[in-house]
């Protein structure tokens, strides 16, 4: 426990120290965040575990608010001490020790004293800067106080994504001889922002401490990759489930069956969304996340609305009747034989007994005069695009974010190069009704289904990777 690295997050009030901690700790419940100054008034620590190993303790501190007055006070203290002991040399750490023992460290500068005490007990400090603020003198004065602790300080320029005064700050920091810095944004973090932050931090540490940090960085990267992959797999499962969904219906019961299928698909999508939120530790019961449009049904209810398709720039096949613009396509052509003879034979040869049974019962149903209900390409495309967009949004979202994930816009998703390759996967999935958990008889385990899910997942990952660049 004691040999863990200790990092303390310091900075002016209201610059997002607690938000940075929430992001780094992946815990949207850490501390308290508000627009008000002095929201955090205590020092709170949390250990960070990466790849199963605890590697550091991060501390949140109250904001510095009155460094000018503190510097005045420190000078007074130094003067008094010098009068008492004229021969004693008083350096900056000694001056801070004097301060911590003084009465004002418990009164006027109580909050500042907490910060200094914690920084003295830590290996390094992350000095958070709000990039939207001008590089004012008071921040220089804060850095002057903090540098007295003799601990490495890494300036972390927060809110860099919202057009801050990056250059101004870089110049100001360079003048203070602080050349290592991390540019970050707790709401929309830059790509690899976290890694750069830790790498910059590693440069400030001594060589004994560095390996632990470097190890953590690589474990972190691996973990992120793994998470993205798992997320893509969940979406791929959803797509296969939906594409392979196939209900036999009597012609007179088509509408009813269609409605039933839509409900199933909506529920399935909702389940996938919840699983994704869970995967990224954005908990569904997290009060802040109730503001996500997801729980208001916006992600689910408009799935079959023709407007959604238009808004997402998905062209609807011309063969479809205007009334059935979106929704399920009734496979009237020779009862599912539109799959093509080749796929049908392939299904018979490659699949197990389940396939044969399925295929047989489908033929039987056809002979009984029943039609087959599947989801149309456009609905699958909407699902793919929407979930792909959600994947991107989740990968970028931090635990400091308190706003909703906005619904996708046309510009984000009108990507035929992404949805086109998926079409052939959908076609393949359609040939195997037993691959869909939405169908009554299903068998989800199997090499060929796994392979298809894998292919769709990599396609989706390419999609979200493209979009983040």
């Amino acid at each position: 426990m004691n040999d863990l690295l200790k990092f303390v997050v310091v900075g002016h009030t209201n610059v997002g120290k607690t938000s940075l901690l929430r992001t780094l700790l992946r815990d949207s419940k850490f501390g308290e965040v508000s627009d008000r100054p002095s929201t955090t008034r205590h020092v709170e620590g949390a250990t960070l575990t990466v790849g199963g190993e605890q590697f550091a303790t991060l501390f949140d501190t109250p904001g510095l608010e009155d460094a000018s007055a503190l510097l005045d006070y420190l000078e007074d203290l130094e003067r008094i001490e010098r009068q008492k002991h004229p021969n004693q040399r008083i350096d900056a750490p000694a001056r801070l020790e004097l301060f911590l023992g003084s009465i004002e460290a418990r009164q006027r500068f109580e909050q500042e004293a907490k910060v200094i005490r914690q920084l003295l007990a830590s290996d390094a400090g992350l000095y958070v800067i709000d990039a939207r603020e001008p590089a004012l003198a008071k921040y220089r004065e804060e850095l002057e106080v903090l540098s007295g602790c003799g601990k490495p300080l890494l300036p972390v320029v927060n809110f860099s994504a919202t057009g801050g005064r990056l250059e101004e700050w870089e110049n100001a920091l360079a003048r203070l001889n602080l050349h290592a810095r991390a540019v970050f944004d707790t709401i929309t973090p830059p790509i690899d922002g976290e890694r750069h932050l830790y790498e910059s931090l590693a440069l400030l540490l001594d060589s004994k401490q560095r390996p632990a940090l470097e190890q953590a960085v690589s474990a972190l990267e691996k973990q992120n990759g793994k998470r993205r992959q798992s997320a893509a797999l969940l979406v791929a499962e959803l797509l296969v489930d939906c594409a392979a969904a196939r209900h036999s219906v009597a012609p007179e019961a088509e509408e009813e069956a269609e409605a039933k299928l839509f409900v199933q698909v909506r529920e399935r999508e909702q389940k996938c969304v919840e699983a994704l939120l869970d995967l990224y530790a954005f908990q569904a019961d997290d009060a802040r996340l109730h503001t996500l449009p997801l729980s208001e049904g916006r992600w689910g209810d408009d799935l079959f609305n023709p407007e959604t398709l238009r808004a997402l720039g998905i062209r609807v096949g011309s063969g479809m009747a205007a009334g059935a613009l979106a929704g399920a396509g009734i496979d009237v052509m020779a009862g599912g034989l539109t799959l093509g003879t080749a796929t049908a034979i392939g299904a018979l040869v490659g699949g197990g007994a389940q396939t044969v049974r399925n295929y047989g019962s489908r033929l039987l149903n056809k002979l009984r005069g029943q039609n087959e209900l599947t989801l149309s390409d456009s609905v699958l495309q909407v699902l793919a695009v929407r979930q792909g967009y959600l994947l991107q949004a989740l990968a970028k979202r931090t635990h400091a974010a308190t706003s909703r994930i906005p619904p996708p816009e046309e510009a984000d998703v009108a990507r035929s190069d992404i949805t086109d390759p998926l079409q052939s996967f959908f076609k393949q999935a359609r040939a195997y009704p037993e691959w869909s958990s939405l169908n009554e008889e299903h068998e989800l385990e199997g090499e060929s289904r796994d392979a298809l899910v894998g292919k769709i997942a990599s396609s989706l990952m390419a999609f979200s990777a493209d979009a983040t660049q």
Binding site: H12, T13, N14, R26, D27, F30, D35, P37, S38, R41, H42, V43, E44, G45, A46, T47, L48, T49, V50, G51, G52, L58, F59, G63, E65, D66, A67, S68, A69, Q107, E110, Q111, K114, R117, Q118, E133, P134, L136, A137, K138, E141, T162, G163, E168, Q223, K226, R227, S230, L234, E237, K271, C272, E274, A275, L279, A281, S437, L444, E445, G446
Partner: protein, 489 residues
């Protein structure tokens, strides 16, 4: 009912839970996670405890139980099948003794199927080691059928299908499917051949068989040689080998001398044991040992990378170590010094007198000063009335001190302090205001409207207003020219 699952069963259940979560997303596992965190310290232990908890909750343990029950029944069925098959094989090969035994036909009947199956098994080891053999599939099929019958009572039949693939996935991490399948196949054949041997012994003991061999094409000498070759290995273990004359004699009429019959029967049994039972027993031993050894080596560590995301839930990425330094009961907030400290005209006059420069600033009794502005703001404002003195912008400590000195010496009658509402209302700024205000007759705060972000941070403006209210300051967000001139808003 499984009370305490074995090690293998635990791993199996873990894998089944993992597979289900890959397909359908995480299960509702809060209770399970809490349980797991209590149950074990290390990650593998926690993963197992969690999986076991979920498996019990979701009826997977019952499903496993009935699957194992089914497997046992299926095994019993296979066992019976092997016994009857073996006995039948013996009977079919040697007949009821009314006809003499054609030794080579009998040999083919006894060992032919076994050889073909052995070759197929070897071939499958070369080409598709991971997939179960035909017999394995048959076993699985009966197992499933039985277990579904067994499970019908618990009405949880939808859970079982995922158990078998989970076992395969688990075993394939250590390439164990082939050894388990091999044990099954060779065990089955061993029992079959044993039953066959016992049946043969029985038949040979209680019936009199004549032995004969026939050929049309081949010379008798080649068959004699074949007999010798086949009997060579069994003879090493002590089985009799018919001598050349007996063999030759059996080529024309069924031999009936006792010695010849015994030699032929012994030879047949020897060939069956050495080429049938022995290889199967050896292979069974090898497969079974490999399976046992491999099974013991199976650990969760083989698949730990698949659990890395679960690891975060069981060993959370971050864990608060608690509050190190608690918040103060009351936060120090700057306040305007109370009435006794407030500058009165008298005290100020005294200050003026002592400085001897008091009368100098009589022309400039109105002043505007700004604290920490955005660099984009035009300062001083163009519309600054000529009568109002520009106090500049206070940013650093020196400017602060100089300004305080300046107004101590030359206190303006009315001082307007411009504040940028883009700044956060921190104690430093509020403290400065509380230091300045008592030094002048009247102070007024001009809250400059927010600029950043473009639409303005209205929340901060609101907090500024509240903070200034708390200080009892006059403030507004319109230029204070009228107030400076008249002292009234």
């Amino acid at each position: 009912m499984i009370q305490e699952p074995t090690r293998l069963q635990r791993l199996w259940l873990c894998e089944a839970i993992r597979q289900r979560e890959t397909h359908a997303g995480p299960l509702d596992d809060r209770e399970a996670n809490r349980h797991a965190q209590r149950a074990a310290k290390d990650l593998p232990g926690r993963i197992q405890a969690r999986a076991l908890f979920l498996a019990r909750r979701d009826g997977l343990v019952e499903a496993l139980d009935s699957l194992l029950g089914g497997a046992r029944l299926a095994l019993l069925l296979l066992f019976l099948l092997a016994i009857f098959g073996g006995a039948g094989l013996a009977f079919a090969s040697v007949g009821d003794g009314r006809e003499p035994i054609n030794v080579f036909w009998a040999l083919l009947g006894l060992l032919g199927l076994h050889f073909v199956s052995l070759l197929l098994w070897l071939a499958s080891q070369l080409f598709t080691p991971a997939s179960p053999t035909a017999l394995g599939r048959f076993w699985l099929w009966i197992t499933r059928t039985f277990s579904q019958k067994l499970m019908h009572k618990t009405a949880r039949d939808q859970r079982a299908p995922n158990l078998v693939p989970a076992l395969f996935q688990l075993l394939e991490r250590r390439r164990l499917v082939r050894w388990l399948g091999g044990s099954l196949v060779h065990g089955f054949w061993l029992v079959t051949l044993l039953a066959c041997l016992v049946m043969l012994l029985g038949l040979f003991s209680t019936r009199r068989y004549g032995f004969i061999w026939e050929t049309t094409l081949l010379p008798a000498s080649s068959l004699i040689r074949a007999t010798e070759w086949l009997g060579f290995l069994p003879a090493l273990v002590g089985f009799p080998l018919p001598d050349a004359s007996t063999v030759l004699a059996s080529g024309t009429v069924p031999v009936i001398t006792e010695a010849a019959r015994q030699a032929w029967a012994g030879w047949l049994l020897g060939v069956l044991v050495v080429f049938g039972l022995l290889p199967r027993a050896l292979l069974l031993l090898v497969c079974w040992l490999r399976w046992q050894l491999g099974q013991r080596k199976l650990t969760l560590a083989d698949s730990i990378s698949d659990y890395s995301l679960l690891a975060e839930r069981l060993q959370p990425v971050s864990a608060s170590t608690g509050i190190v330094d608690p918040a103060p009961a009351q936060l120090y907030m700057p306040h305007i010094a109370n009435a006794s400290g407030k500058a009165t005209p008298e005290s100020r006059n005294a200050a003026h007198l002592s400085s001897n420069v008091g009368h100098l600033e009589q022309q400039h009794t109105q002043m505007l000063v700004a604290i920490e502005l955005n660099p984009e703001r035009n300062w001083p404002p163009a519309e600054l009335p000529a009568a109002v003195m520009d106090g500049g912008i206070i940013e650093d400590r020196n400017q602060r001190r100089q300004f305080l000195d300046r107004i101590t010496l030359h206190p303006p009658q009315r001082l307007a302090i411009a504040i940028d509402s883009d700044r956060s209302p921190d104690r430093g700024t509020l403290g400065l205001i509380t230091e300045i205000a008592p030094l002048v007759d009247a102070a007024y705060i001009w809250l400059l409207p927010p600029q950043v972000p473009p639409d303005g941070n209205q929340a901060r403006l609101k907090i500024w207003r509240e903070s200034l209210d708390a200080l009892g300051m006059l403030y507004n967000d319109t230029p204070p020219w009228h107030w400076l001139e008249t002292g009234r808003e």
